[in-house]
Symmetry: C2
Amino acid sequence: MYKNFDELFNNKEFFKKTKSMLLIGACDKTSLEAVADATSRGIIEPILVGKKEKIEELLKDNDISIDTYEIIDAKTSNEMCEKSINYIIENNCDFLMKGTVNTSEIIKSILVRKKELLTNKLISHISLLEIPYLNKIISLSDTSINIKPNLEEKAEIIKNSRDFLIKIGYIKPKVAILSSIETVNEKMQDTVDAHELKLLNQKNVLDNCIIEGPISFDLAIDEKAAKNKKYKGRIKGDADLLIAPDIVSGNLLGKCFNYVPNSKFAGVILGVKFPIVLTSRASSKENKYYSILVGGMSTKEE
Amino acid sequence: MYKNFDELFNNKEFFKKTKSMLLIGACDKTSLEAVADATSRGIIEPILVGKKEKIEELLKDNDISIDTYEIIDAKTSNEMCEKSINYIIENNCDFLMKGTVNTSEIIKSILVRKKELLTNKLISHISLLEIPYLNKIISLSDTSINIKPNLEEKAEIIKNSRDFLIKIGYIKPKVAILSSIETVNEKMQDTVDAHELKLLNQKNVLDNCIIEGPISFDLAIDEKAAKNKKYKGRIKGDADLLIAPDIVSGNLLGKCFNYVPNSKFAGVILGVKFPIVLTSRASSKENKYYSILVGGMSTKEE
């Protein structure tokens, strides 16, 4: 659908209104630089949570100017998480960005206030990737949250990702349930689940998308490979969304993608009342900036 | 250790003697081209198994000249496997290459004659990869044979791969047990196994290598990432061998590696009395040729 990130972010509809974004664990240079960029372009109004003195020092030392920022002082990562969650609930923030704290700490703090923060949806992560050898943006779920999703949870992950893709402009996204083969093997639970998900799609239980699986990586992303292997599935190298069998396979695949020279990445957690921009601490300033943009695109409708 | 495939294959020690190689399912253009190359360089003496007429036609039509070849006629893939296995046992071939038949069919035929063909080792696959953004060859196991290896089987996979790497010149190869994190989480069996494997290494039960795990992809292959994250493991972005948690994660990772522009690949099955060169049907002529060279390097000692 979208050829690259430029085309995706060119969609001005999503950035008409400046959104409030809270950065949790703000003592991180590249995160602050990305936040400053997004702030200066009017995309976000940031709230920074962390050791106040250190944040101010970091901003000064690196000539990062965030004119309209608010800093909430917090010493430990536990305190940062608690204060952030409280602030979000009281002030109805648009979205959250993970800085120096661990994902698991944020999730724990959310679960303490789950009545206010959770919906009836599963929490799941989506990565958007611009890979130079592909001719379009490809998405991948779930590389970060659900350890070993069962069939029901995989269906929920697909729904979260599908709804997000439709929100940003896709019509019937093509969803590839990744495996190592194209046939169902009872000894490989991922192939059994993939087949079940395809059936749920054919029965319109899981609708508004095209689901194919089990399908191997090459047939999902490479039209030539699908043609050479005379693959008869409804996805022939043109998948929009890849669903990983579990967290470890998704994580390895996502990271291997990230190392492709000149690739770009953006990631966000879906299924909570406010989306959480989630990047690795080692991510570049650019990828953090892209993730903020994607976070802004994934907030609730006005 | 080896910077790239050129350096690896420059090791003339391994190619002093021409070896006999049987291609099972020979009606495949790129396989025949790779075989012809290796034959003309005196690396192998090939035996081709498949539909004789078709093979001869394919050789003629594509101007592939294999002077010293023998063709064994077989119609079905089942017949090809059976005749190949019989031939290998009777003639004591050096190694085997998979052509158009399925891996599972070959394995089935081997199991029928397991007394003659199996050792007390587990059968496992190793991929050797030259990835332009890495500064050395990296290996990956097991992407093709063992569906969900348990702790014991993972130890056997490591032994097969370690022994092969030592055979081709490595001293104490660095083995990274891949995961999505660096800490042990009881809910993630792969992290528990990784930790156990590391302990077996520290107790010298699994020796002649350095095992680290659980370790994420970036810390295993990227020295900068390991440094930035202040990672304290014994492998800091300099892994020689990556061990995948299971077949689906290994397969996804291996294929994602293969799509890195200008990457090179070679793969072989270890743990049988004769190694089996195993490439995907979609592999390029070059990768099939590299796999033949690696197959030749992995045969038993004279």
